[in-house]
């Protein structure tokens, strides 16, 4: 077990990186191919192969280069794009439109997503029912399977879910990477508490109205998934809110600030995941002995989890999503993945390897279905 590392010591040799990637190669092969590769449909087989190669090359590169964030971000962004692609193409195929009708609501055919979870809790406790027009055990985005996936992921990764599991996060993560330097540099620290205010409001309004108010009125990702048919002033107002919030918080502000502003200032599930960061065994630690207090990590953090005062005290806040951007920004390896209970500056490689395997495996398997679908759709379009 290594005690301290300096410089680029997280890098591994080609052979060692390949060895570390073997378990991932085997497991993702099983999940992506279903254990039995089917070559009868060439575009499906090719899509599976591309997805399989993509995830494993990215994982290999994490070990080989010692860098985490940029390879994570590639899969994370592809995941977000592919999910929207899958959803939109499904809807266009089934309904010729991105909007859902009243009949879809009455027949409980709306795909469920994890952002509904904060709104479900109080009504489930008081009415013993779920306030969402979806299917409990549906084959696509069923409520029970999404809840299980989120529960386990948030228990294991804490707020890491927001950077390794959320199929929306890739949108503002992607836009926050376009500019090399931020235009807006100073943002008040208080805004990071906004998701808790949103959580408070949506939990309350959803419980009292018995409807998922965040989905009905706020969710910016309705702009890239599906939304209610515009048939009244209220539904037009909702569409206006969805598009404005998507443009503002997912596109423009991340572009100008290099921060994930939707995740930092709006997402109510992010607030719950922040609390679950207290349970997860994995964390980001600051090795004060190696820290030169250059604060490059503070500037790099896309979720306002790091402050100069925190760095001086050797503390990373509960807002951390373990994306690895700060770790990659630190040339002295003073900030690193760690395990709770293990002192900072020790077992750096072990903690990183274990965390990367768990978090990347979750993302790779969770995202593979929609990525395969997207590649297959694109291949069908091209050929």
């Amino acid at each position: 077990m290594d005690d301290t590392l300096s410089g680029t010591s997280l890098k591994k040799s080609f052979g060692k990186s390949l060895l570390y990637s073997l378990p991932m190669i085997l497991i993702t092969f099983m999940f992506i191919s279903g254990g039995r590769p089917d070559f009868s449909n060439p575009s499906s087989a090719l899509a599976m192969m591309i997805t399989f190669i993509l995830v494993n090359v990215l994982y290999f590169l994490m070990h080989y280069t010692g860098k985490t964030d940029k390879f994570r971000a590639i899969l994370f962004i592809i995941f977000a794009l592919s999910l929207s692609f899958t959803l939109i193409s499904n809807m266009l195929e089934m309904r010729n439109s991105m909007s859902f009708s009243q009949a879809d609501i009455l027949e409980c055919k709306i795909p469920f997503c994890h952002l509904v979870i904060p709104m479900m809790i109080l009504p489930a406790a008081f009415t013993k029912s779920i306030i969402f027009p979806g299917s409990i055990l549906g084959s696509f985005a069923g409520i029970a399977s999404m809840v299980v996936l989120w529960l386990v992921a948030t228990l294991v990764l804490g707020r890491g879910f927001c950077s390794w599991g959320c199929f929306y996060g890739g949108w503002d993560d992607g836009f926050s990477r376009i500019r090399k330097k931020p235009v807006i540099k100073k943002i008040s620290d208080s805004w990071k508490w906004m998701p808790f205010a949103v959580l408070f409001m949506v939990a309350l309004t959803s419980a009292l109205s018995l409807g998922p108010t965040y989905c009905d009125w706020i969710c910016p990702f309705k702009a890239v998934t599906e939304f209610e048919e515009v048939t009244s002033v209220a539904s037009a107002a909702k569409a206006g809110v969805f598009i404005s919030l998507f443009a503002g918080l997912v596109v423009i502000l991340p572009f100008l600030t290099r921060k994930r502003t939707q995740c930092s200032f709006l997402c109510p599930l992010g607030a719950i995941n922040t609390l679950s960061n207290k349970i997860t065994p994995f964390t980001v630690k600051i090795d004060k002995a190696n820290c030169s207090e250059c604060f490059k990590c503070v500037a790099a953090c896309p979720l306002f989890a790091l402050t100069q005062e925190g760095i001086r005290n050797g503390k990373v806040s509960v807002f951390c999503s373990k994306c690895g951007k700060c770790i990659d920004a630190c040339s002295r390896n003073a900030i690193h993945y760690g395990i709770k209970g293990v002192p900072a500056g020790t077992m750096k490689k072990f903690s990183r390897n274990l965390f990367l395997f768990i978090s990347f495996l979750f993302m790779a398997v969770f995202s593979s279905g929609s990525i395969v679908n997207t590649f297959r759709g694109l291949l069908d379009l091209i050929f």
Binding site: W191, W193, A197, M201, S209, V241
Partner: protein, 207 residues
């Protein structure tokens, strides 16, 4: 009813956290034990409820006098919602809001027994944007019962925050809770801006 309750609940947190520390020592001064605190708090809350009941009646009569047809009943409250919701958002982001707590005038009252009543009146008549919004809601209601319900829901929502008042001094993360409360107040403002816009556009289309 739902909107008024949420407005009360969201602004109540900010109201308590900005004014609570001014009100608390006076409301609880000289009190001996839980019984005294409970009586004082009950008198304070009862006074608030009575003042709100009177305001709901006044708002409804004003609404009936001025909102003479369905279009006006939609357009005028729509504009008022937008203006007052804008003020509520400004209140949420204004750093000087703590200086505006009306309860600080409690020092002018000498009679100890009158303090909870005085605080109840001052607190409910401390004309803040949230109260303007609920006044607009009361005025635009079809019936007096609707107006009374709106104020009652606002009263219940805001009063929930006063119940643990005796414990206010012991809250550890007061600054964080205050920040979340203020942000929730701003969000309530946004909800009412959307409500105002919907009402205004609906009124214009119907007109």
């Amino acid at each position: 009813m739902l909107e008024s309750f949420i407005l009360g609940l969201s602004t109540g947190s900010a109201c308590l956290l900005t004014c609570g520390m001014v009100m608390f020592p006076y409301l609880m001064s000289g009190s001996s034990g839980v019984k005294r605190i409970t009586i004082d708090l009950s008198v304070f809350l009862l006074t608030r409820m009575l003042v709100y009941a009177l305001l709901s009646v006044a708002a409804w009569y004003l609404g009936r006098a001025f909102f003479t047809n369905q279009v006006v009943r939609s357009v005028v409250p729509g504009i008022l919602y937008i203006v007052f919701a804008g003020m509520l958002i400004w209140y949420a982001i204004d750093r000087n809001r703590q200086k505006n707590c009306p309860a600080k005038f409690v020092t002018t009252v000498n009679n100890r027994k009158l303090i909870p009543i005085f605080l109840g009146v001052v607190n409910s008549l401390g004309f803040c944007p949230a109260l303007y919004l609920v006044l607009t809601k009361g005025a635009s209601e079809e019936s007096l019962a609707g107006s009374l319900t709106a104020f009652l829901a606002f009263f219940i929502g805001s009063s929930l925050w006063f119940l643990p008042l005796p414990l206010a001094g012991k809250i550890k993360k007061k600054k964080i809770l205050e920040t979340i409360g203020i942000l929730a107040t701003g969000l309530a403002g946004i909800i009412f801006i959307i409500k105002g816009l919907t009402s205004l556009i609906g009124g214009i289309i119907n007109g």
